[in-house]
Subunit: 214 residues, 2 copies
C-alpha cells in the first residue's frame, strides 16, 4: 500500500505540529503566556476543546515560573503523569517531580481512613517544606482534599494544575479549585483532562524556562 | 464554597464511571468484546470520539487474549504508556511491558541512521524472540517502521495497538496499519490517541483475563 507521507526531519516534527495547531486555531486570540500551554495540551491530545476549557487564574503562568525558578517540587497523582514530566528540564531548574501513590504508608493511611490513595497522597505532600506545584490528572478526590487542606490553612501551594478526567465528581472538584482566589491554578473545566494533559502543562511551563537543545 | 458532591465509595468510582459512559452511549450497539476497550478509552479521556474512531481487525480481541495468555511482551513507544499498564495484571499472566526509548543503544542507532528513536526502538523489538504486542501511543514513525518490518518479513506481531496522537503523518501511519490484513490491530483512526489511550487499551485487554480483586 502506498500512502504519501509528509517529509519532516525528526527534530522538526514538534515545530511542524505546533504550526498546524496554530493555523487551525485561526484568528482566535490567545494570551501569549497561555498560548504555549494551550497548544501543548492540544498537541498531546489532538483535542481542540482545550482551547476553550483551560482556565487560568490571574498571573498563573508567571507564578508557576517563579516557583519553578525556586526549585519547586511537582507532586502528581499518578506515576504516569510523573513519568511524562521532562526530567532534563526539571534538573536544569533544580526542580523535582514526585508521586506518592505507590508508597506503602499511603496505602496504609488510605485503608485506615477509608479514603482514596490520592487523598492520602495529598496529605503526605502537605507536610513537605518546599514550594509545591500540584499536577492532578486523575483523581478528583485529590483536588477535593487539596481544597480542604487549603481552606484549613494547612497548605499553600504555588500552583494547582487541576485536570483530572472522568465522570464522578470531576467537574465539581474542578469548580472547587476555580473558586480559590488565593491559589494560582490552571484548570481544565468539565470532564476532560488526564495524566497526559497534566504532564503536558508541566512541560509547557518548564520549556519556556530552559534551553531545550538537549 | 459549597458544591454538592456525589457520594461514591473509592472502590465503586470506576464502576459508577463505566455506568455513566454506558448510559451516555445510549442505544448504540457495541460488539460485546470490543465494548470494554472502547469504554475504557472513553474513561481515560472523557472523549466519546473513541466510540467512533477505534477500529478493530477481525478477532483482534481474541487474538490479543491468546497472546497475553502465552506471556506476550507489550512494547510501548513511551515510558508514560509503559507506566500506565497495570503491572499486577501483567504479573498474573506472566507478561511483561517494555519501552526502549531511553536505552543508550537506541539513542546511538537513531543518531547513526538519522531516524527517530521510536524507529530504533521498533528495530530493537523486532529482534526479540517472544510473542509481541506493540502499543504505540506517540510516534507515527514507530508505526511506519512496524509496517515496513512486517512487509519485509522481519516481524510478525500478535497485535498492534496503533493509537499515536498528533498532526504530522499520524493519520497516514494508522492507515498503513489498517491496511494490514494479516496482522491483528486496534487503531484509533484519525489524529487522536496518546500514551494514555495505548495504556488504557492494554489494561482493558488485561482486565478481562485476570482477577482484579487486588
Amino acid at each position: 500500500m502506498k500512502i504519501p507521507l509528509e517529509t519532516v526531519l525528526p527534530q522538526d516534527i514538534e515545530t511542524r505540529s505546533f504550526a498546524i495547531i496554530a493555523a487551525e486555531l485561526g484568528d482566535r486570540v490567545l494570551d501569549p503566556l497561555q498560548a504555549p500551554i494551550i497548544q501543548r495540551a492540544i498537541h498531546t491530545s489532538a483535542d481542540f476543546d482545550y482551547a476553550d476549557n483551560l482556565i487560568f487564574s490571574p498571573h498563573a503562568v508567571e507564578k508557576a515560573w517563579q516557583a519553578l525558578r525556586q526549585g519547586a517540587w511537582i507532586v502528581t497523582d499518578t506515576n504516569m503523569a510523573k513519568t511524562g514530566v521532562n526530567k532534563t528540564a526539571l534538573r536544569q531548574l533544580g526542580c523535582e517531580v514526585h508521586c506518592f501513590m505507590a508508597d506503602e504508608d499511603v496505602a496504609q493511611a488510605a485503608k485506615a481512613n477509608g479514603t482514596t490513595r490520592a487523598v492520602a497522597c495529598m496529605e503526605k505532600a502537605a507536610s513537605l517544606k518546599v514550594p509545591l506545584i500540584f499536577a492532578i490528572g486523575n483523581a478528583p478526590t485529590a483536588l477535593i482534599r487539596l481544597y480542604e487542606l487549603i481552606r484549613e490553612g494547612r497548605l499553600k501551594p504555588e500552583l494547582i494544575i487541576g485536570v483530572p478526567v472522568g465522570f464522578v465528581n470531576v467537574v465539581e472538584s474542578k469548580e472547587l479549585i476555580l473558586s480559590l482566589d488565593d491559589v494560582p491554578h490552571i484548570v481544565a473545566r468539565g470532564r476532560k483532562g488526564g495524566s497526559n494533559i497534566a504532564a503536558a502543562i508541566c512541560n509547557a511551563l518548564l520549556y519556556q524556562l530552559v534551553d531545550r537543545a538537549y
